[in-house]
């Protein structure tokens, strides 16, 4: 099986995700972009798993999904805590910490 196109697609997804993390300002959109990056990794893992004919990549992808969910839960929790303190939800305005 030729995996090239799957890998290219995953690379495009990864680049979109990384670009989004760098340029978007809303923490919610940044979390979405982080998910996109992790899922690009998953796609690559599953494609390679198929190419090699072993299941290790698929197991890895399943576990990554669980981990991604954990990250989102913590991220959303922090965003809700900031929202309740009426802090601006804009990463450009988080300038409390600088030296």
């Amino acid at each position: 099986m030729d995996v090239t196109w799957y890998v290219v697609l995953s690379a495009v997804l990864f680049a979109i995700g990384a670009g989004g993390v760098l340029i978007r300002r809303s923490p919610l959109v940044i979390l979405l972009c982080l998910e996109l990056m992790l899922n690009a990794g998953n796609l690559a893992l599953v494609a390679f798993s198929r190419a090699h004919g072993n299941e290790e990549g698929q197991v890895f992808a399943l576990i990554v999904m669980v981990v991604a969910a954990c990250e989102v839960v913590v991220g959303l929790g922090l965003i809700v805590a900031m929202f309740r303190r009426r802090l601006p939800l804009n990463v450009d305005e988080m300038r409390g910490l600088r030296g």
Binding site: V3, F14, L34, A40, A44, E71, A81, M94, G99
Partner: protein
């Protein structure tokens, strides 16, 4: 066909099992002991770390694969585990007052705080022993996710939330990059097991584009975690904003565990491709040493200063990996242990001073400390001098060891870079020492008793209570907190001891390096 029960080596897994049981016990203890939660939970978590440390020492010297090769029990993994456990054992007393009830009458949160801390330790113990890409990724996340929560755990402080979110975003970016790199390494080699990857890479895949892309992305992801220079921007911000005991834990334990897996992953799995990654890591180390030391020069917050100094120290330690020799690994493990002792002593003093003076962690809070509080001034001075690498401290021995390893591996210019970095670093470490001993004490700030006026639609989380603010901002002068002073003195004493008599620590570190000898040139 018959069913063969898998062989499970419970003895080898015992530190992991003890920590897991301890986390459950701490959580349950926190729920069922409302009034004396702090005491019950602290005793439970200290017992857990003591048992885990004992089991690690018991298993010292064993070398075998655990759980079908997912984990590797050897001295390198146990050394990383012991450093993480030591950091937790110091941070538990340091956080005695940290996660206190956010407002009077609400439930104390020590149970959650310490259960999260122990979860992170569990992630570190697993990470230091990981021998499989899946375990590497999962344990790195098990280490990181509780830390994101702990950084944001002081929910009433804007800065703490900000640092939590920053760490989450940057940390997840690092994890995603690492995952993508691991996927490519899997794609190139067809396996997730370190030794199988080594065999595959060794049989003609050293210049395979998939593997090379994978190495670059994985190195970037790990560099985010250990704050190597171009990927370090989050470090000072997160260190400053997080509650100080959490910063102390993050600074030392994360580095120890991540460096252990870094060395195992690169020397074992990617060992045959050493010619491809060695120059790249050497450049990263040099950049890190320069950027960290120069960045620290202009800092006025001691936590930020230690953040930048951590970037520089990570650069020094990366030299140990670049060497790709047993001597380099020994030097790395020695330096990790020394770094842990020095930083914990410094952070313990910051925890006390932050509470006593109104200046937070600014250098001003430490002026005149030598006259007013010599019991705090000495550990801080020793820690700063050791971080700067003055002789008769463990920091000096560590740098000497690293430079020797660099020269031995024909990377003499990196040894020179360490020496130059050390010279620059004297400027900011000595500035702290000068503030402690040569300046009069700064006028204590008046406590801000007024707080924010209650306004319509105010939420209980958002409005600080004046009584609480006054109580925390104006502690009684000269409070003696033995729970913090004793660890600070122990760490400072150990820093001096291993600087004067380094041989026990050198032996310990060379056992750890010896575990990788079959894979090293």
């Amino acid at each position: 066909m018959t069913f063969h029960a898998p062989h499970i080596d419970y003895a080898g897994l015992s530190p992991v099992i003890a920590l897991t049981a301890g986390i459950c016990a701490v959580l349950v203890g926190g729920v069922f002991s409302a009034r004396r939660q702090r005491l019950v939970v602290s005793v439970l978590s200290l017992t857990t770390v003591a048992v885990a440390a004992g089991l690690c020492i018991w298993q010292w010297g064993e070398r075998e694969d655990l759980v079908a090769g997912a984990l590797r029990l050897d001295e390198l993994g146990l050394a990383g585990a012991l450093i993480a456990i030591l950091a937790a054992a110091v941070v538990i007393p340091l956080s005695w007052r940290e996660p206190a009830a956010e407002r009077p009458g609400s439930e104390p949160r020590h149970g959650e705080f310490q259960a999260l801390l122990l979860s992170s330790v569990l992630g570190m113990v697993l990470l230091a022993q990981a021998q499989n890409l899946v375990v590497l990724f999962v344990s790195l996340e098990l280490l990181s996710v509780p830390l994101y929560v702990l950084c944001g755990s002081a929910v009433r402080r804007t800065q703490s939330l900000e640092s939590g979110l920053k760490y989450l975003i940057v940390g997840s970016l690092g994890s995603a990059t690492l995952l993508y790199g691991l996927a490519f390494i899997y794609g190139g080699s067809g396996s997730t097991d370190f030794t199988t990857i080594r065999d595959a890479v060794g049989s003609g895949l050293t210049d395979d584009p998939l593997v090379l892309i994978g190495i670059a992305l994985a190195a970037t992801g790990l560099a985010f975690k250990i704050s190597i220079a171009p990927f370090h921007q989050w470090t000072p911000d997160v260190y400053e904003g997080a509650p100080t005991p959490v910063t102390a834990f993050m600074a030392v334990a994360t580095k120890a565990a991540a460096f252990c897996v870094f060395v195992r992953f690169f020397e074992v799995a990617l060992g045959p491709a050493v010619d491809n990654w060695q120059p790249a890591l050497a450049v990263l180390a040099a950049v890190s040493i320069v950027v960290g030391n120069i960045g620290a020069l202009g800092q006025s917050s001691l936590k930020r200063l230690l953040g930048y100094s951590g970037v520089a120290q990570a650069g020094y330690m990366l030299v140990g990996i670049v060497c790709a020799s047993a001597l380099g690994v020994n030097a790395l493990v020695f330096y990790l242990a020394a770094y842990t002792l020095m930083n914990l002593a410094a952070f313990a003093v910051i925890v006390v001073r932050e509470r006593e003076s109104g200046y937070g962690d600014g250098i001003k809070a430490f002026e005149g400390l030598g006259r007013d509080r010599p019991d705090l001034a000495w550990p801080l001075t020793i820690a700063m001098l050791a971080l700067a690498g003055l002789p008769a401290t463990a920091g000096f021995m560590g740098k000497l060891y690293l430079i020797e390893a660099a020269v031995d591996a024909d990377y003499t210019w990196l040894g020179v870079a360490i020496a130059i970095g050390t010279m620059i670093s004297l400027a900011y470490y000595l500035r702290v020492v000068a503030a402690v001993w040569m300046r009069p004490a700064a006028e204590p700030l008046a406590p801000e008793g007024a707080g924010m006026p209650a306004m319509a639609g105010g939420s209980p989380e958002a409005d600080p209570l004046p009584s609480l603010a006054a109580a925390t901002a104006a502690p009684r002068p000269g409070t003696r907190c033995l729970a913090i002073l004793v660890p600070a003195w122990l760490m400072a004493g150990a820093t001096i001891f291993f600087g004067v008599l380094p041989s026990p620590l050198v032996d310990w570190a060379s056992h750890a390096g010896g575990a990788l000898t079959p894979f090293l040139a």
